[in-house]
């Protein structure tokens, strides 16, 4: 099967998933105990307004009809209306998105090189001191709460040493880099250990592989075998995990944005939860899912390029 055919099939596969996530995000609002509109608008809102909002979103109709209305709105790019901000949710998201995206890409840029470097170092010195240091720190890294690490680093590098700002987003590119360094670092510190452990054990497994022995029997040098055979084969499982970790990363940014007061999507989500701005919560959840699906899709496409055997 040709590669583009494989990718096309993978895209077709997305349709039911997209339908599924729309159902889940639709059900979120249905799950609310009591009348969501009343909860959102508060007890003092006049009945006509409540009824109007309900009619606007079709909440007075049977559930299936409501879902269809919801889908129809989604297709038209209408994610709903924020009660608190009195703005379309889509606009709110677009305002906040660049900041969260910047943070996420920042984290990925820190994560990938350090993961590869640490995993290779550990694997090539398997059983020696440096390997023990890396693997032990990795175990610790996984158990550290991101928000706590964020607070402690802000205290140390922000307050004590005054190297980095402890809140906000900055005004230009370098300002962003400076402001978001600590948030990005604390998220990366949580992601890197998971990936390092995975990549290290993948490398160790591949080092034992038969084709390495075969390569050795051809007289190929160890250095060549490591970078051209072993590493390439070890990347695959880690790449898939990386896809999953990016989803986790977006979860992590929610809490990190809160700690460092970065006015991004996560921050919006939290404040909307407290403001009972349910349509915003619903829309952001849906939006995160779409981002995750896109990343997973990208990872899958990269997999087909690296590994000729992959069938999606």
């Amino acid at each position: 099967m040709q590669r583009y055919q494989v990718i096309l099939q993978r895209l077709l596969h997305l349709l039911p998933v997209l339908l599924g996530i729309s159902i889940v995000s639709f059900l979120l609002v249905q799950l609310i105990p009591g009348d969501p509109v009343r909860l959102m608008l508060g007890a003092r809102a006049p009945d006509e307004v409540v009824a109007a909002v309900r009619a606007r979103y079709g909440l007075d109709q049977p559930i299936l009809q409501q879902y269809l209305t919801y889908l129809e709105n989604l297709f038209q790019g209408d994610l709903g209306q924020s009660i608190v901000y009195r703005k379309p949710v889509g606009e709110l998201i677009m305002e906040r998105l660049p900041r969260t995206l910047f943070l996420a890409i920042y984290v990925v840029c820190i994560t990938i090189p350090s993961t590869i470097f640490l995993a290779i170092t550990a694997a090539r010195h398997q059983g020696r001191k440096i390997d023990h240091i890396i693997t032990t720190s990795a175990v610790f890294g996984i158990t550290i709460p991101v928000f706590w690490l964020g607070i402690m680093m802000a205290r140390l590098f922000g307050v004590e040493f005054g190297w980095f700002p402890v809140s906000g987003y900055g005004n230009n590119f370098f300002g962003h880099l400076h402001h978001l360094f600590l948030p990005a670092l604390s998220t990366a510190i949580w992601m890197v250990p998971v990936l390092v452990r995975n990549l290290r054990s993948a490398i160790l497994e591949q080092m034992e592989a038969d084709y390495v022995v075969a390569g050795r029997s051809k007289g190929l040098p160890e250095q060549y075998l490591f970078y051209y055979h072993i590493l390439k084969n070890s990347i695959m499982p880690t790449l898939n995990l990386f896809g999953v970790m990016v989803a986790v990363l977006f979860g992590g940014t929610v809490i990190v944005e809160k700690v460092y007061a970065v006015p991004g999507l996560g921050d919006l989500m939290i404040s909307s939860i407290f403001g009972r701005d349910y349509f915003v919560v619903q829309a952001i959840t849906l939006f995160y899912a779409v981002v995750t699906i896109t990343v997973t899709l990208a990872v899958d496409i990269i997999s087909t390029i690296i590994d000729p055997r992959v069938k999606l």
């Binding site: 038969d210 390569g215 029997s217 051809k218 040098p221 055979h229």
Partner: protein, 567 residues
């Protein structure tokens, strides 16, 4: 070129191994895998190393190139063209590997990097040893693929390993190995994972390479037949020691060591003349169906289909029928009461699927199976339970066929208890009886599968099946994972059981020699169809069909013993 005369005696041999000792450091202390082996390989010579699993043959072979894991310690000398390889620095070793001595392996699939094209893997050695640019490497790689008998070398060069069949992969691996024109090729069980017809072609290829390129070969194998097919001299190893070595004819026809003799006696071969002399009246004079005991099981026009892929878009695929594989395609045969009936075929021939259909683990899309003249297709409830009791099966993989969390006693007792064949109190006695029946020491009662040998596991599997007191036993490749000496014991056990408790046995195997030795009648399968059926001596000595002839001719034989016993 072309002359492969042995230059033994006066000149120094190409390779000489002297007092080789290899020990592995492990948690359980030192394990001596090789305990002093000495042998030599002359220029243009093919030397075989034969031994059962754990004999140290592969370890010895790998230590020649220094390919052992780091916990191995090596003692002794390996002289290649007069200079010692052992203890050389890695840099020096690399100049020898691939360029002077190279190696091929048992499982070609895992020895090729799945992410690189075949061509890249052939080319990398050329590039490294000869600094060739990629265009030259390509031209040479394609030549090499031609030389190892690949029909479309250019396409294969750019393909990935997973797109090739097992035999093709082995050819690619051989092309990698001979790319830098080494003088010596170490072949570690190169055909064990392959079908017998493919094996024959790979052995032909090795012979051709030996003659055309004056390539010396060390062939390591558990199969004396394969060694006899190809080698001029043989080294017999057992427990890390060489028990005997010499010219292949001499060793096979007059073995001096008792172990070698046992190995030769256990090795089933198609002993054409010997068999026929014993079998009395000419087989074709025996009328086929009449005057025979009644049929126990009959399979009629059996078809089994599989769908290869399952998924969301199956719906579209099934309509096009593209995912449909006919594993069994219209097969009919009858098995008589009390006989041992053999099915032979290569992988993908549908032989195991037939067994699954008989045991009702897959349902046929057409045709039927009758047991005692009654169709089994619609059995339910008690009738099905009775059928299950009558028909039991033993499997190929000794360790995989036993639940790793059950002791021997638990495994054997479970069917007794579940089917109310024994009450709790007498269960232990029944288990002991069954274990004795299959020659298992009852001291093993509380062992787990990983604490047993392969042969012991197979006996437990047989005991479990016998617990149901079956009339009919299906043995699916039961000995193919075992050493030949153990295989002989298991076959003897099955033969004895047939007489003792009146079993009818369906013996499924890829090994013609075993089938000839063990079965009365045989059916030859190919790609889901029945090729030929009849008494073994008839089918395997005078095959009517071309495919059966190919199979028989491909089976490695101990020519010498056969011809000797024929005299």
């Amino acid at each position: 070129m072309g002359k492969s005369k042995n230059t033994q005696g006066t000149t120094t041999p190409l390779l000489s191994v002297e007092n080789l000792e290899v020990a592995f450091d492990s948690i359980n202390g030192n394990v001596h895998a090789v305990r002093g082996m000495s042998f030599s390989v002359g220029e243009g010579e093919i030397v075989g190393i034969v031994g059962e699993s754990g004999s140290g043959k592969s370890v010895a072979c790998r230590s020649i190139l220094g390919l052992l894991p780091s916990n191995a310690s090596i003692d002794g000398q390996v002289l290649f063209e007069g200079s010692n390889i052992i203890g050389q620095h890695e840099d020096e070793l690399r100049k020898i590997r691939g360029k002077q001595i190279s190696m091929i392996f048992q499982n070609p699939a895992s020895h090729l990097d799945p992410l690189m094209t075949n061509g890249q893997q052939i080319g990398e050695a050329l590039r490294y040893h000869f600094n060739q640019d990629s265009r030259k490497a390509r031209a040479e790689g394609i030549e090499l693929l031609k030389a190892v008998g690949i029909t479309d070398p250019e396409q294969t060069f750019d393909a990935y390993p997973h797109q090739l069949s097992g035999g093709m992969k082995q050819r690619v691996l051989i092309a990698c190995a001979i790319a830098c024109r080494p003088k010596l090729l170490l072949a570690d069980e190169p055909t064990t994972a392959l079908d017998v017809t493919v094996q024959a072609r790979i052995l032909d290829l090795l012979r051709t390479l030996n003659q055309e390129r004056n390539l010396s070969i060390v062939l390591v194998s558990h199969d004396l037949g394969v060694i006899a097919e190809l080698c001029q001299r043989v080294v017999v190893v057992h427990n890390g020691l060489i028990v005997e070595q010499g010219k292949i004819e001499d060793v096979v026809s007059s073995p001096k060591d008792p172990y070698t003799r046992m190995l030769i006696d256990s090795q089933p071969t198609i002993k054409v003349r010997a068999r026929r002399a014993r079998s009395g009246p000419e087989p074709e004079l025996v009328p086929e169906p009449a005057a025979q005991p009644s049929n126990l099981l009959s399979v009629e026009n059996l078809c089994v289909n599989f769908h290869t892929s399952r998924g969301l878009f199956d719906f579209f695929r099934r309509r096009k029928n593209s995912g449909l594989v006919k594993a069994v395609d219209g097969i009919s045969f009858k098995i008589r009461q009390g006989e041992i009936f053999g099915i032979v075929g290569e992988s993908g021939s549908g032989k195991s699927t037939v067994a699954l259909a008989i045991t009702k683990l897959v349902s046929p899309s057409e045709g039927q199976v009758q047991f005692h003249g009654k169709s089994i297709m619609k059995l339910r409830g008690d009738e099905l339970t009775n059928y299950r009791r009558s028909v039991q099966m033993v499997f190929q993989n000794p360790y995989n066929s036993l639940n790793p969390r059950f002791t021997v006693a638990q495994t054997v007792a479970e069917p007794l208890l579940k089917h109310g064949l024994a009450i709790k109190a007498e269960c232990a006695d029944r288990v002991d009886e069954l274990m004795e029946l299959v020659d298992l020491s009852i001291d093993l009662r509380h062992r787990y599968p990983h604490q047993l040998s392969g042969g012991q596991c197979q006996r437990v599997g047989i005991a479990r099946a016998l617990a149901m007191k079956p009339e009919f036993l299906i043995a699916d490749e039961v000995t193919s994972a075992l050493d030949v000496s153990i295989q002989a014991q298991i076959l003897a056990l099955l033969e004895r059981l047939r007489d003792k408790i009146n079993l009818t046995i369906l013996y499924i195997s890829h090994d013609l020699a075993v089938v000839q030795l063990f079965c009365q009648r045989v059916a030859v399968f190919r790609a889901g169809r029945l090729v030929e059926i009849g008494p073994v001596d008839e089918v395997l000595t005078r095959p009517k069909e071309k495919y059966t002839q190919t199979l028989v001719n491909s089976a490695p034989q101990l020519h010498f013993s056969a011809s000797l016993s024929g005299h």
